[in-house]
C-alpha cells in the first residue's frame, strides 16, 4: 500500500476513532471505560509502522486495536490495507468484509465494496476461454456434471488454480485439457475434437482411434566447420590490457590512501562509521 494512501487513510484518525469507538464505549461507561486510549495508541503505532513500510508490525497493532475495542470498524479497514500491501488478498477481502459487517452504512461502504470486487477480480479469479471445433461443443469444468457452456465459450470466471476442462460433442472424441487460472489474467483452451468415425470411399464407416505408433524423428544438426579461423579479439577482451589497468589503478589507490588517510582529525572518541 502506498505511503500516501496509508497516511491519507489516517487523517483525522483521532476524531474518527473517537466518533466510531466512543458511541460503542459509552454504554459501558458505568462498568468502566474500555481501553480506548490503548486502542488509539495501537492505531497510532500501526500507522507509524505503515509509514516505515513495516506492514507486518502494523497488522499486529491494528489487530490489537480490534481486540481492545471489538465494536470499532476502522481497525479492520486499516488491517485490510496492510494485508493488501503484503499481497494477502483473500485475507484483505475478509478484513474489508468485516469492516462492512460492523457498520454496513459507513460512509465509504460503496467504495469498499468496489475494492473487494476489484481485489477478487484481480487476484482471486481469472478468465477462461474455450475455443474448440466444432462450435456448440459442451464444456465441463472440474468434473461438474452440468456444462459451464458451449464453444466458443468466452470469459468464464474461475477461481485461481488448476482446473480440468473437458469438451464433448456428439460424434467426436472428447477433449481433456488442464487450465491454470491466474489472478486477473485470461487463459485459453483451444483445439479440435476429432471425429470418432470417418466414412471411406467405399461408404464404410470406420472408427477412428488415436495412433500412438510413430517412428523416431531423425534430427540431424550440422556441426559448425572446425577449420574456420578464430576471429581477432578486440583490445577490451585482451587480458593483459585489463591486468595492466588494474595494476595502475591499485597503485593510484594506494597512493591516494596514503596521502588522504591522515585528513581525518585525531579525536578522543575515535572514528566510527554510520551505518
Amino acid at each position: 500500500m502506498g505511503r500516501a494512501a496509508a497516511l491519507r487513510g489516517a487523517i483525522g484518525l483521532c476524531a474518527l476513532m473517537a466518533a466510531l469507538i466512543l458511541p460503542v464505549a459509552r454504554p459501558a461507561r458505568a462498568q468502566g471505560r474500555p481501553p480506548i486510549e490503548a486502542a488509539q495508541r495501537a492505531m497510532e503505532k500501526g500507522v507509524a509502522a505503515v509509514e516505515r513500510g513495516d506492514h507486518e508490525a502494523a497488522l499486529l497493532e491494528f489487530r490489537r486495536a480490534q481486540e481492545l475495542v471489538p465494536g470499532a470498524n476502522v481497525p479492520h479497514r486499516f488491517e485490510a490495507r496492510s494485508l493488501e500491501a503484503l499481497g494477502r488478498w483473500a485475507e484483505a477481502i475478509a478484513a474489508y468484509t468485516r469492516y462492512l459487517e460492523i457498520k454496513p452504512d459507513v460512509s465509504d461502504a460503496a467504495e469498499v465494496r468496489a475494492k473487494i470486487d476489484e481485489l477478487r477480480a484481480a487476484h482471486l479469479e481469472g478468465l477462461l476461454d474455450v475455443v474448440c471445433q466444432p462450435d456448440g461443443a459442451r464444456v465441463f469444468i472440474d468434473g461438474n456434471p452440468s456444462p459451464a457452456g458451449v464453444t466458443p465459450l468466452r470469459a468464464l470466471r474461475l477461481p485461481i488454480g488448476e482446473h480440468e476442462v473437458r469438451v464433448e460433442a456428439a460424434g467426436r472424441h472428447p477433449l481433456r485439457a488442464p487450465a491454470v487460472i491466474r489472478g486477473g489474467a485470461s487463459s485459453v483452451v483451444a483445439g479440435e475434437l476429432a471425429p470418432d468415425a470417418v466414412r471411406l470411399r467405399t461408404g464404410e464407416m470406420v472408427s477412428t482411434t488415436p495412433d500412438p505408433a510413430r517412428g523416431p524423428l531423425d534430427l540431424t544438426v550440422a556441426s559448425p566447420a572446425r577449420d574456420e579461423p578464430e576471429p581477432t579479439r578486440p583490445w577490451y577482451r585482451r587480458w593483459y590490457v585489463w591486468a595492466g589497468a588494474a595494476a595502475v589503478t591499485v597503485g593510484v589507490s594506494v597512493g591516494a590512501w596514503v596521502i588522504l588517510s591522515d585528513r581525518l582529525p585525531d579525536t578522543q572518541g575515535g572514528t566510527k562509521s554510520f551505518p
Binding site: 507509524a48 508490525a57 587480458w239 591486468a243 591516494a256 572518541g269 575515535g270 551505518p275
Partner: protein
C-alpha cells in the same frame, strides 16, 4: 571477464579512501565534567549506530566550554538527514545534547552543546491496557507545579526552584485508581506576575467523576477536592479579572453536548453556558481576562475552537486538520492553536494564530517538524513541543521542542526533550517560567516515570 572485474574493484578503492565525515565537538559549559563516559547515538533511515567512550573534557573557563570530540564517517548516504545524540549519563547531573546533520557532511565540524538532561520525578501509575492522558506541568509561583497519578494516588509536586531537587510530593488524593490527571494554573497575561493558583483534576477509577482541587502558590492553602459529578471534563484556571477562578467544560454523556461552567475557588458554580453542538471529543478549555471562555473540541466535521461569553452567540472557528492543543499568548490577545494536517501524504504541524476575542484567522505558521499524527503536542507562549517517530528503526517516539518568539513564530533549531533513546516519550507539557527559563515535563514509557527538564531560552542564562 575477471580482469575487468579487478579493474572495477580497484576503481572502487579510490572513493572508499575519501569517505565523507563529520567532526563532532561536544561542548560543556557548566558542569565540572572530567573523565566521563560519553554515549553517542547516530541514527537515520531506520538505522542506528551507538558507541561509548571515556571522554576527558579539555579546556573551558572564562565562559569557554570544555570539550571532547569524535568523528563519524558516512561510507554511504542512507538518509539525507542524520540525528546525533550525546549523553553523559553517569554523573551527579546527567547532561545531553543533540543535533541534526545534513549528509554529505563534507568534513565539517558540528558543535553539540550539553545541557542538563531530563530527570525522573516519580513513577507514573497507569493500567497496563491504558495510556495515561495526563497534563503534567503548569507554572505556579516562581516555579512550576507537577501533578500525576502515582503509586500512592494523585501526587502534587511544587517546585519554587525547579532546577533544584524537588521537595517530596504531596499525595492529594489516595485514590490509586485515579487517572487522567491534569494541572492548569492561572495565566498571568505576560504581566510578569507569578501565577498564584493552580487546579488539579483527576478522574475516579470508575470513570464516573472528576475531582479537582486548587492549590495556592504560597502553599499555605489548598482547597478540598470538589466533585464535578461527571465523567469527562477539562478544567482551566481563569486570569485575574475574569470574575471567576476556574472554568470547566463538561462533556455530557446523554447527548454528547457540552456545558461550560465557571466556578469560584471553592467550587461553587457561578454561571452555566450550554453549548448545543454534537461533540465527539473535548480537547481543551481556557478562560480570558474578560470572562470569556474558549473551548477546543471535535465534531463529526472536524476540530474547532468555540468562544463563549454568556452574552452573545458562541463564535466557532474550524481548524484545519487535527487540532491537538491551544494556548493563549502572554498578552492575552492571540490564541496559538497547534494542529496536525496531512499535506501531500506528509504530516505537517501548523501553528494557527487567531484573535482571542473574535477567533478571526491570523497567521498560520508551518513548523519544521515531522509530527506523529494523533500524538501529543504542547504549546505555550514561548515554546512548542511535539511527538516524532524516531528514525532508528525502533518506531519509538521522541519529543522535540522549539522556541517561539514574541509573535508566536518558531525560531532557531528544534531539539530533543528526552535525553535517552529507550522506548517512547509522550505527553509533553511546557511552562514558560521567565524570559530565561522554560520547563518541560513528559512521560517516559520505558520506566513509567514523570520526567522534568530545564530549557534555556534564547539569550538566557544556561540551566544549571
Amino acid at each position: 571477464m575477471k580482469a575487468p572485474l579487478v579493474f572495477l574493484v580497484s576503481w572502487w578503492l579510490i572513493p572508499a579512501c575519501t569517505e565523507d565525515y563529520v567532526h563532532v565537538v561536544v561542548e560543556n559549559f557548566d558542569q565540572a565534567l572530567d573523565l566521563d563516559t560519553v554515549q553517542v547515538s547516530v541514527f537515520g533511515g531506520d538505522r542506528l549506530t551507538s558507541f561509548n567512550y571515556t571522554a576527558d573534557f579539555e579546556g573551558g573557563g572564562d565562559g569557554a566550554p570544555s570539550t571532547t570530540d569524535f568523528v563519524i564517517t558516512f561510507p554511504e548516504v542512507i538518509d539525507p538527514v542524520v540525528d546525533i545524540r550525546v549523553v553523559v549519563p553517569f554523573t551527579a547531573r546527567p547532561s545531553a545534547g543533540d543535533a541534526r546533520l545534513g549528509v554529505p557532511a563534507d568534513g565539517s565540524t558540528l558543535h553539540i552543546e550539553l545541557t542538563p538532561a531530563d530527570r525522573a520525578i516519580d513513577f507514573l501509575r497507569h493500567d497496563a491496557d491504558e495510556i495515561p492522558g495526563v497534563q503534567l506541568l503548569a507554572r505556579l509561583g516562581p516555579g512550576v507545579a507537577l501533578a500525576w497519578p502515582s503509586p500512592a494516588g494523585v501526587s502534587l509536586g511544587l517546585a519554587r526552584n525547579p532546577e533544584s531537587p524537588l521537595p517530596f510530593p504531596e499525595v492529594i488524593s489516595p485514590d490509586t485508581t485515579a487517572s487522567r490527571v491534569h494541572i492548569a494554573s492561572r495565566p498571568t497575561g505576560g504581566t510578569g506576575d507569578e501565577p498564584d493558583l493552580a487546579a488539579v483534576t483527576w478522574q475516579t477509577g470508575d470513570d464516573t467523576d472528576i475531582s479537582w482541587l486548587v492549590t495556592h502558590a504560597d502553599r499555605g492553602e489548598t482547597g478540598a477536592p470538589v466533585s464535578l459529578g461527571v465523567g469527562d471534563a477539562k478544567v482551566a484556571v481563569a486570569p485575574a479579572g475574569a470574575g471567576f477562578d476556574v472554568v470547566t467544560a463538561t462533556w455530557l454523556d446523554e447527548d454528547a453536548s457540552l456545558v461550560v461552567r465557571t466556578h469560584d475557588a471553592d467550587g461553587a458554580v457561578l454561571e452555566e453556558m450550554p453549548l448545543a453542538m454534537e461533540v465527539t471529543d473535548l480537547i481543551g478549555v481556557a478562560a480570558g481576562a474578560g470572562g470569556d471562555v474558549t473551548v477546543a473540541l471535535a465534531t463529526e466535521d472536524g476540530t474547532a475552537l468555540v468562544r463563549l461569553d454568556g452574552e452573545t452567540a458562541p463564535v466557532e472557528r474550524a481548524i484545519a486538520g487535527d487540532l491537538r492543543t491551544f494556548a493563549v499568548s502572554d498578552d492575552g490577545e492571540r490564541i496559538l492553536a497547534a494542529a496536525i494536517e496531512q499535506v501531500d501524504g506528509e504530516n505537517v504541524l501548523r501553528l494557527h494564530h487567531l484573535d482571542a476575542t473574535t477567533l478571526d484567522d491570523g497567521a498560520v505558521v508551518t513548523v519544521e517538524a515531522t509530527p506523529q499524527l494523533g500524538a501529543g503536542v504542547a504549546v505555550s507562549p514561548c515554546m512548542l513541543a511535539w511527538t516524532e517517530s524516531r528514525d532508528d528503526g525502533s518506531g519509538d517516539f521522541d519529543l522535540r521542542y522549539q522556541e517561539l518568539d514574541q509573535d508566536g513564530v518558531p525560531f532557531g533549531t528544534s531539539h530533543v526533550l528526552n535525553g535517552s533513546l529507550s522506548g517512547d516519550y509522550l505527553f509533553p507539557a511546557l511552562a514558560c517560567v521567565s524570559q530565561e527559563r522554560a520547563f518541560a515535563a513528559f512521560y517516559a514509557e520505558s520506566d513509567s516515570t514523570v520526567r522534568l527538564r530545564c530549557l534555556t531560552r534564547a539569550g538566557g542564562e544556561r540551566c544549571r
